[in-house]
């Protein structure tokens, strides 16, 4: 009551107000600047440092110098893969935590990661697929199949469509099952084991422009579905009954969300391996900036995800010279303590 009497009866700033708009544009430009810095570092820093002038030269008018070749054939595709996978995992993580209303959910919860791992191992072993480009397709197929299986299993519970709980349970069960199968496969086959070990760590190194082209359509469709899903997710955040009462088709919203998560996560893990930690951590960084509105949380998570993945990759190139540390290792090493600190500092957000 005391605050009510102290506060003058001025209309409070709300959506559309200039204060809020100024804050939004400040955050958006800040995040874009962060992403730009990450991209530039990713292009310039590495086993062979390239000065900023040469990076510019390579991008605008390459003449075939050594630095031009390094930047154009290695660093640009690597950076593009990092940006794409980072956006995909960040957005998928925010979607996943929104749909399950669980702050500790990661995008791999639908069995996507283990599905990709299993089909890749299977393809390497039985079909003798060796090239990276070959097994990305198998990874994608496995990710989609596993997710569809989890969705179908989650639906068994009742007529109202899968609930976050049945989805999480089905996802955990399917993941454990696929993990067991994958372990059995890689124990039998040395070559599958080698590829799989590398893939499991998660890295954006050594991916060519072809990888970008391969997974880009999946990421694009996934992002489009995520965009369509955002207002419905806001309604769902108030509980299923309130969402229905607000005229939201809950089953459809969930299905669209699951499709978006599957496409985004499937594309990212098929191209870069298991980097699910990005999806777990990034929404927690984005939420203080965006608030609980998914129309802002999703794009913020995407931008932060891309920046985080690139910066981790750059750090991995610097710390172990002349060798490199995989981005997945760096993310886990830096991210885990950071995440613990984040959780300890403020209570994990209730969704």
């Amino acid at each position: 009551m005391s605050t009510a009497t102290i506060t003058a009866r001025t209309p409070s700033p709300r959506r559309g107000s200039t204060v809020l708009r100024a804050r939004r544009s400040l955050v958006v430009s800040g995040l874009l600047a962060l992403l730009l810095v990450a991209v530039l570092l990713s292009l310039a820093v590495g086993a062979k440092p390239v000065p900023p002038g040469d990076v510019w030269h390579a991008l605008t008018g390459a003449t075939g110098t050594e630095n031009d070749i390094v930047v154009r054939s290695l660093r640009v595709p690597r950076t593009a893969v990092g940006v794409m996978a980072g956006i995909a995992l960040g957005v998928a993580g925010a979607l996943m935590q929104g749909h399950t209303r669980n702050p500790l959910a990661d995008p791999g919860l639908l069995g996507v990661t283990q599905g990709a791992a299993f089909t890749m191992a299977l393809a390497i072993m039985t079909l003798g697929v060796t090239g990276l480009y070959g097994y990305i397709w198998f990874g994608l197929a496995g990710a989609l199949a596993a997710s569809a299986g989890v969705f179908a299993l989650g639906m068994v519970g009742g007529p109202g469509g899968p609930t976050p709980l049945t989805l999480a349970l089905a996802g955990t069960a399917v993941s454990a099952f696929l993990y067991a199968l994958t372990s059995a496969l890689v124990l039998l086959d040395q070559q599958a084991m080698d590829v799989f070990r590398f893939w499991q760590t998660g890295s954006i190194a050594g991916r060519g422009a072809e990888t970008v082209v391969q997974v880009l359509p999946f990421v694009a469709v996934g992002l489009l579905l995520a965009l369509v899903n955002a207002p419905g997710l806001n309604a769902l955040a108030l509980g299923e009954d309130v969402a229905r009462s607000l005229g939201q088709n809950v089953a459809l919203t969930r299905a669209v969300g699951v499709c978006a998560i599957t496409l985004l996560t499937g594309a990212a893990v098929a191209a870069c391996g298991s980097l699910a930690f990005v999806g777990l951590m990034v929404p927690h960084l984005a939420r203080p900036l965006s608030g609980p509105d998914h129309r802002w949380l999703l794009p913020y998570s995407g931008m932060i995800g891309a920046a985080a993945l690139l910066l981790a990759d750059v750090a991995g190139r610097v710390v172990a010279r002349p060798g490199e540390l995989e981005a997945g290792v760096v993310l886990a090493l830096l991210g885990a303590p950071f995440f613990v600190a984040l959780v300890r500092r403020r209570k994990p957000v209730r969704l």
Partner: protein, 275 residues
């Protein structure tokens, strides 16, 4: 008659809770459903609000089958506030109320001046204008419940279904919420259907009382006709005196003690007869 349940059969899975129930809600009235725990009153309210699909019979909204209407169209006529709803942490009162505009928005037009107006009106009607920027979790229980009602109000529906809107509130806050319901009805002409546990408050703030037991409507009508000592025994197994509320003039229940369950009473009466 705006909202009607015709011979509805309701339940979850194989468990039938309500069978063959008829109920009509007149426009511009406040209807309260009372009954013991587990009698199916919340289930009925959920069915009226198309949150639960009847396994038999039908629910009609303005004469049309509610389950065949587009859910977004229903959401412009009928708002439902479930029991103890939850919101994500950090959501402000104004943001919550703004989400009530959901059925009026499309993916390409997210916010209009009409939305702004409806939200401001809903906030001022519920006395929350000054608390708009406060996170929901910092409010008192009564304020929070008012914020949720404000959201349902911003939805701009003629009909409002409230499931136990006073649960977990102290008496002063219960009165605060029910006064608000009375104003929604009196000033805005909204039709309200709610589930309440407090019989005296139900009698005070209601035009039409519906008493339920074991999935059946036992009595329905004005509180003065429905809330009798016989009914309390039949519906709640409660021995009570019903006197006139000295303030509102409505029936007031003064409990004496619980009676044995109806079945047992019937058996005992039978035994007595045999003797």
């Amino acid at each position: 008659m705006r909202l009607r349940a015709v011979d509805v059969k309701l339940g979850y899975g194989d468990r039938v809770i309500v069978d063959g129930l008829d109920l009509g809600i007149e426009a511009g009235t406040v209807t309260t459903i009372i009954g013991p725990n587990g009698c199916g009153k919340s289930t009925l309210l959920r069915a009226l609000g198309r949150l639960l699909k009847p396994s038999g019979g039908e629910v009609l909204l303005d004469g049309k089958r509610i389950d065949r209407m587009p859910t977004k169209e229903v959401a412009k006529i009928l708002g439902v506030l479930p029991q103890a709803p939850t919101a994500p942490e950090g959501l402000t009162v104004a943001d919550l109320v703004a989400r009530g505009r959901h059925p009026h928005q499309t993916w390409y037009r997210q916010w209009s001046s009409g939305d702004e107006l409806a939200v401001n009106e809903a906030l001022s009607m519920t006395g929350l204008l000054d608390l708009g920027e406060r996170p929901l979790d910092e409010l008192s229980g009564g304020q929070r419940q008012r914020a949720w009602i404000s959201m349902a109000l911003a939805q701009g529906t003629d009909l409002l279904l409230l499931d136990e809107p006073t649960t977990f509130l102290d008496l002063a806050h219960q009165i605060e919420v029910l006064e608000l319901v009375r104003r929604l009805h009196g000033e805005l002409g909204r039709t309200v259907v709610m589930v309440l546990h407090d019989l005296n408050l139900a009698a005070r703030y209601t035009d039409h009382l519906v008493a339920m037991r074991s999935g059946k409507v036992v009595a329905a009508g004005p509180p003065a006709e429905v809330l009798t000592e016989d009914l309390l025994a039949e519906v709640f197994d409660l021995a009570a005196r019903v006197i006139e509320d000295p303030v509102a003039g409505t029936p007031m229940v003064v409990p004496i003690g619980s009676l044995p369950a109806t079945g047992e009473r019937a058996r005992r009466n039978g035994a007595l007869l045999k003797d």
